[in-house]
Amino acid sequence: MTAQRTEQGGRIDRSKPVTFSFDGRLYSGFVGDTLASALLANGVHLVGRSFKYHRPRGILAAGSEEPNGLVAVRRDAARVTPNLRVTQVELYDGLVATSQNRWPSLERDFGRVNDLLSRFFPAGFYYKTFMWPRSAWKNFYEPIIRRAAGLGDAPTEADPDRYSQRYAHCDVLVIGAGPAGLAAALAAANSGARVILCDEQTEFGGSLLSDTQAEIEGSSGRDWTRQTVAILAQNPRVTLLPRTTAFGYFPHNFLGLNERLTDHLERPDPRLARERLWQVRAGAVVLATGAIERPLVFPGNDRPGILLAGAARTYLNRYGVRVGTRAVLVTADDMGYQAALDLQAAGVEIAAIADLRTNPGGALPAAARAAGVPIHSSATVLGTSGDLRVESIDIGRVDADGRVTLTERVSCDVVLMSGGYNPSVHLFSQSRGKLGWSDALKAFVPQQSAECERSAGASRGIFGLAAALDDGYAAGAAAAPQPTLEHRRFEVKATATASEAYLGALPEGPTPAKDKAFVDWQHDVTTRDLALATREGFRSIEHVKRYTTTGMATDQGKTSNLNALAIVAKSLGVPVPQVGLTSFRMPYTPTSFGSFAGTSRGDLFDPLRKTPIHAWAEAQGAVFEPVGLWMRARYFPKNGEDMHAAVARECLAVRNQCGIFDASTLGKIEVVGGGAAEFLNRLYINSWTYLGVGRSRYGILCRDDGFIYDDGVVARTAPDRFHVTTTTGGAPRVLAMMEDYRQTEWADLEVWLTSTTEQWAVIAVQGPESRRVLATLVEDADISAGALAHMAIVRGRICGVPLLLFRVSFSGELGFEVNVPADYGRAVWEAIYAAGQAFGMTAYGTETMHVLRAEKGYIIVGQDTDGTMTPDDAGLSWAIGKTKPDFVGKRSLQRASMTAPTRKQLVGLRTRDPKLVLEEGAQVAASAGQTPPMALLGHVTSSYFSAVLGHSIALAVVSGGRARVGQTLYVPMPGGDIPVEVTTPVFYDPTGARINA
């Protein structure tokens, strides 16, 4: 038994002792302890060093609002979690925790020098100091500040844990399982509603867990909690989520909850997810998030051993821990007395009570007086002493005329602060609800909801057990879709408590205190920083916040915001509500990245789309490249070839014999209906009216701004049916654009769209021998040159399965595209490949496809176009249906700027050195020897070495390019200007004899 542990009581399991380490030292605790309660049980208050001044800091709170006790918990090198609040870390045997922001140790911290030099680090220090010289920022200031400013270290290895995610819906989501939340859940569940009840703590019960005297309906508060949770657990319509933080409130009652599944386990089953992110859509939300005790602002209020009175009571009653041996209470309300009386009953000496009120009356102060505790009324605190732990406190007295005198220095090892309670309105504020100022509570409370949401209990300033239960029940009943008429009053025995509060800094003594009075513990913001900010002219609380960083730490100012506001209001001489309130941002408490990433990692980060022929290509050793979500074979290296050699071989095979290429990824859309031709007329720049059945045409689609959006071959398979192909990457957006026009602009047309991209496997067979290869396999179709001309299509059978055969070519050779239902793709591919071996057939990939088309000057949308190219710029004005009254983009193309002769036009470029391959993206200039800034004419869009031509080729877009054919231009590169000759973009077979063979 450790010194500070009580002999009995608390909700820890005394039969299960555990050992843990903190900063390398071993301590003991019990199952049911938090790291905070176990450290306190071992007499350890010192848990961290403050952010800026590196002052020693102790545990301030008992809940998630803890600003000081931030630790890293380490399981192994990959499982190090920094910035965990000691108050939320559940103890398990072997837990290893280390403090942060100190070097070399917590007790002797080098950074402490900052505190001694603190007058050189005023608010806005960084803004003022690190401005000049400008060049020093990147190499000197920033690295140093980054090293000094961090709280905790990120793990260096990949996170090995699994994170689960789950969408959920419910009628009523209740956040917070204290008395109000439990009652709300009970009421909603009684009405038959689907209910989710979550709480960030290990156990449900909230304040009832820290209360030993309350009675509800004849049971102790804790028994009532147990019974209520059991009733809820039996209801299949109720989901109970302990250890689950509602961290974000998104529009339309969509909330993010983070459930921690394994962090509390000594040896978690590796198959379990570490956390689960719940994305909940709730019909109604009940916020029963309770209230956070407000600390008091006085000089030296941050010494270890100075903590919130309610926290001390929680440590005693819930964890069986005495936070000290001799305590002083500084309080503004009766709740503080309750803590002091509980501690006294447990054997803690209460050396004094400093009550800020003039004349504290009521039952609790009377009980304290009766117990012989000296009570100072009209009190203030002038300072504290102690290095790593508080040793004494200077209590002062405020006269009726406001004069402050020192009354007494009281030695103590713990100081309890009680400044009243702040309703926890973070989620309400996130939901865009409007807060109102309560003069009685000296706090902001929910006033007007923006969502279907209601707050209940302490979170809306309804304090006291009976009132909170009744309020919670009423909220739960009203939130349910079938509201129950039942009203319920809970029979409660609890100590009545006044709800008074103190706001701002305590009155100061006649001479300025030497020590700092902290407002924001985590970001080290003092009363002086706030005063300086207002002196320097800051008026808006949002500006003060950014200048001083108050409330901007990981705790989001849970304990500091209101005091900061009050201090600013006082120094500006305006009422608090007039200063306003900074917005509460999500997450409520820090949430792990893994939880957000969930299953989106590794191979499951994105769908990896593979064609039916993918496995064949893989087996052939293909090198793949991602194209959109698709994986496409880029080239098929043989015998250790590099890409250059493989592509040269593949290109020559297609030019001289034949090649086979997987084109299954091409987008395909079936456009069907009596209005199909008219629909395409209105969309595409081409005319489709006279395209015969069994024929196809190269189509170009522009956006309404007249720039090329997509292209592809469109075939007419029946009078009212078109088989439209799109680029691989463009398929979804083309379908979306078509549907948009179909549904919103041209509802008059009888036409429907169906994506058939994946219905068909598409096998391109290209090259002079391609017809002879297919002739051995195709049945029920005449594919002879006379019967099947270039751009004709025919139905038939291949290998016994249905075939839609296109005679099309993206290579410039005689070519076909074999379309078969996708499940047959692999088998038909293999049959064609086998039959092709007698004709020298070679499989080729996207890289060879790119070279072949560039040799012919065929553009690739997105490579040779960039969203600012018109059809004419790309040399495709021949495709425009001249007699059509309209098409998407037509009017834009008639603007003067769209027809200017200086527009960048697609041309070919040839280097004088045939081996030199230009860099794609390289600029093109009119003259050599220029220095930046240069006059540039355009840039290279595609560039390859052409094996069949024996020299390099490039496509480029050049201002007025077509008029420059024959001219010499220059490509400026680091090694010097490269002279290039402007040519037409068609390098190979300009007459098209081969394609029509």
């Binding site: 689960s164 198959r271 689960r276 299953t599 698709w630 396999l777 016994g800 239902p821 996708a822 047959y824």
Partner: protein, 189 residues
């Protein structure tokens, strides 16, 4: 004479909660109420027009996907055969007469799996944001929706079974994701 090509669907390994469904004949039918009425006579169903509901008769089903769009499924013994699909297409087209419509064979476009068991809805909710509670998503409910970054058609065929249609190239992604999610309920050895 080349050998008849073998049909190869995407491969899905079955488990306690997942079943790969055999090849089916599938059509997307677009058209107005009259087109759907005529299709229903061929399909052997009454031709109800309830939004987000599937209508089932023996091996056939018709899934409402939109005000003018239905997915027709045939999973009978002959469903894997192209001749059967072609025959069905002919009969549907014949029944239509001159009624405007679009009938497109998508038998190979997508594959189907069944997620079943006590945790079926919870597993699907691992990446599908819809409310799958039986009160909101009764047996017969069907819809186009998303499963993480993939589009799917989801059809509740039983209190604890869901039919999922997914485009073939997204199948690995959907089943891979399902397997990871299902670890929460079926942790395995």
């Amino acid at each position: 004479m080349p050998e008849q090509a073998r049909r190869v669907t995407t491969e899905v390994a079955g488990s306690d909660w997942l079943r790969a469904l055999p090849p089916a004949t599938r059509f997307i039918l677009h058209g107005d109420a009259e087109a759907r009425r005529r299709a229903a006579t061929v399909w052997g169903i009454a031709g109800a027009e309830d939004p987000l509901r599937a209508e089932v008769a023996a091996d056939r089903a018709s899934l409402w996907l939109g005000p003018d769009e239905y997915l027709l499924l045939d999973s009978g013994a002959a469903a894997g055969s192209d001749a059967h699909a072609a025959d069905l297409a002919l009969r549907l087209d014949a029944a239509m007469g001159t009624v405007p419509h679009a009938l497109v064979d998508v038998s190979h476009r997508q594959t189907a799996i069944e997620v079943h068991g006590l945790h079926a809805a919870a597993i699907l909710n691992g990446a599908c944001p819809l409310d799958l509670d039986i009160s909101r998503c009764p047996v017969g409910y069907c819809t186009r929706t998303v499963f993480a970054k993939a589009d799917i058609v989801l059809w509740r065929t039983g209190e604890q079974s869901f039919h999922v249609e997914v485009w073939r190239s997204f199948s690995d992604y959907v089943t891979g994701l399902l397997a990871v999610i299902a670890q929460d309920y079926y942790p395995g050895p």
